[in-house]
Symmetry: C3
Subunit: 343 residues, 3 copies
């Protein structure tokens, strides 16, 4: 199916420049687009490819309209406009409702008639699944867990007992929601399990990436608010709260009882100590070691950037020379004092 | 069901203070507890909530008995007493034995009559499953693998061939036991797989968190001793040994052939180089980079704590100024020598 | 089954020293080998065990032939010879072809007659599975995905729609291929999903470890070239390219659009920022924070090695003293200038 460019410009409230009758039937990157493709320019490092693009049209910001060699849609946020149009041109395949004959759905659960449940999925007793949900192959929906409407569990997702999801939640393969938190009491050197009886409560419009784990609360709940986006391989420990519209990149670990504000951006491979507070609008760069609460919005970092192995070894040695350096300075100061006195 | 407080105090050998007939029917946090709830105070940061708690009773240490506004159970280790009582008040739902009609159990396996096997679980040839084990949905028990008694595999757990588990082992969803270790030999720039023919041998009372992976040994076995507790998203490489009652927090990676002692506490996001030895009773703080063996008990650390991005950039620049600083000091020393000589 | 040592020496083109009729029926480590076992010496730290080994024969490099107390096979690369012989002595059990009656194979897919599909595996519409592939229990092969010949998916592997694998690819349990990349556009503080319509394209002779995730490209593909070996718990983001014969150790995260060269060796727990280029033959040590492109072959590092907690606290304090140190040096220089002038 193809769309005239003018209609796509209207769809995103953008300004059309050039031939509005130009037919668009797909989206592509600025370097690989060809005839019939729409592309976009949103990252400075790709500007050098604009002049040579073979796309039929480009979504650009006002600054780039003059540089664009083809028809274009001008809009202040080209990446957003692109996201909208790409979703229009490449709609998700939708399953019609129904329970696959190879699924196991407990008779004491409640699955909406418009929901789809795939082969080898398990819906346990007391679970409730809302309208138009898609529960892919091998998913497990634990006892008493509830899903709102329009949730998509791609496949192989495990939701343990008594968890709750809002509407429009997307869970990718390997996600585990509601596993026990890591709670233990020590008795003479042995560790005794502390029962984890809280839940995981997830808001609406949340997306969680492949193999990410979210532990249930120990007593209170682990909470992920509306609009949160979590990348792959993230660990969210028990009793964490993640504020609305916060995004976290892959491989990050959030320790127990950490309270993260709204609209934060947390890079990949970050780790936080437990029981911390992170304010709204905090940006933490990748691989940062968060050892204390962050109480003001802003950008925060730690970690040592890569260098050659030779340079790195030198830096590590220098760090250990600092004690010696301070001693030498102290001695110099004494000697200069003495010279001054003597002069 | 509710319990008189006096009975709970007896159950944990604690001292009862106040009304022993007070009825307890649940546990909750000190801030959220209400009438009928028992709570506890074990972490200094929550002491400020003690005076205002609405719990019916609190488990406290002797130091806090005077501050407690309600009935209490006094015991030297409140968190341990809480763990015991919470387990009593919130017992796990147990499946009665039996094989779900949608499970696949190879006729050449041996499953105890008191064990439960859930829908879509797979028990392969030669596997043995002990008394009262619970094998949740979608678990795979590989050929010749053996589970002791009372193991609980929550669901979606994969145990590869020829692994061995003791009694009372808990494995959370996404756990993989016995995947091949990362062993390769190089031949003219290409990597040739080295067969991984060892096993994983896990002791009793071990708990392993969601999406944690434990590779099988190359030739000898990977060994996890009794009472070890592993959090989520941990990687245990081939031929590692983890000593009894050691705990490891989430996202940590243990490289091949590392030998970790007993009763260690290893924080989250830690990484170890391979072929290291870590002594008994070593405590490693989160995100530490363990580049060498640790041969004495104690606390060990590395990594740079978070600061503002601005401060971090300054620190990184300073590190590189050290060479220059040493040169300047040397020059000063020479000049002061000269001045001294001249004076 | 047992093999005469002479035949094994021939098999790896090694030089036989000692009794070629010696019968070998297994492989073992140098410390645990007994009569009938073949072992190898490839790592200097195990040389001290050579004199006392009870193995029937040892594979050694020319340097060690004199030290070897038993029969031996001499070869320049003992570990490679060992890998070959271990594969010969411990061949993988192979399934004969066929679809398990409890698998779900869509009638519109194409599964080779010599392939095996295990219980509760799902093969979706349009998928193609080549000769002698083994699709273990609980694997999902998404719509239109294609596997070459001789691939082994151990079990519980998820391949999403439209992905492509070459020949002889091994995927361990928990692997997810083709999950959506982490792409979002911001609209007034909320995040809008950017459709991920690229694929994952994997070459031949690739092995991917347990619980590793590889996201599909946003528009173009994520590409893993021939002979790449990925360990467990690795995250490969959208539009990454990993060049042929590169190996990456566990827990590493590769951010989006990073382009990694051929024959690289990347340690465990490494993180890379996005949109970087890493040249061929780069070696990055474990836990390095790769913040910029690496354009030349060589060894690269970062991170602070472990020390005692006490020493670490001192180092962190020193780093913050640097500003003060520079001030003190500057003052000293001024005073010495003044003394010089006055003298």
């Amino acid at each position: 199916m193809s769309w005239p460019l003018s209609q796509l410009a209207d769809y995103v409230d953008g300004e059309l420049v050039g031939d509005g009758q130009c037919q668009i039937n797909g989206v592509a990157t600025i370097t690989n687009a060809g005839s019939g493709d729409l592309t976009f320019l949103a990252n400075d490092r790709y500007r050098r490819y604009l002049a040579g693009t073979r796309a039929s049209a480009v979504i650009v910001s006002p600054n780039d309209r003059r540089r664009c060699p083809t028809a274009c849609i001008v809009t202040p946020n080209p990446y957003l406009a692109f996201a909208r149009i790409a979703s229009l041109l490449h709609p998700l395949p939708r399953h019609s409702g129904g329970i696959h004959p190879l699924a196991f759905v407990d008779p004491n659960s409640a699955v909406s008639e418009s929901a789809w449940v795939g082969p080898f999925a398990v819906v346990q007793a007391g679970a409730r699944i809302g309208d138009r949900c898609e529960i892919g192959s091998h998913c497990i929906i634990g006892e008493q867990s509830e899903l709102g409407s329009d949730c998509r569990l791609i496949g192989n997702v495990t939701i343990c007992d008594r968890c709750s999801l809002g509407d429009h939640v997307i869970l990718h393969p390997g996600v585990v929601i509601g596993s026990d938190g890591f709670g233990m009491a020590n008795e003479n050197g042995k560790w005794i399990k502390v029962p984890q009886i809280g839940r995981v409560v997830i808001g609406s419009d949340v997306e969680i990436g492949a193999n990410t784990t979210v532990d249930r609360g120990a007593l209170d709940d682990t909470v992920i608010e509306d609009g949160v986006k979590l990348d792959n391989q993230i660990q969210v420990a028990h009793n964490v709260r993640i504020g609305a519209h916060t995004v976290i990149a892959a491989c990050t670990g959030i320790s127990g009882s950490t309270d993260i504000g709204q609209r934060c951006i947390i890079g990949g491979g970050v780790g936080t100590a437990g029981h911390l507070e992170i304010a709204d609008d905090v940006h933490i760069t990748g691989m940062t070691m968060v050892t204390k609460s962050i109480r003001e919005a802003g950008v925060y970092s730690s970690g040592m950037p890569v260098s050659t192995n030779r340079e790195w070894r030198k830096n590590m040695a220098r760090l250990h020379q600092l004690e010696n350096i301070v001693q030498r300075i102290k001695r110099l100061e004494d000697r200069v004092d003495q010279l001054k006195k003597d002069s």
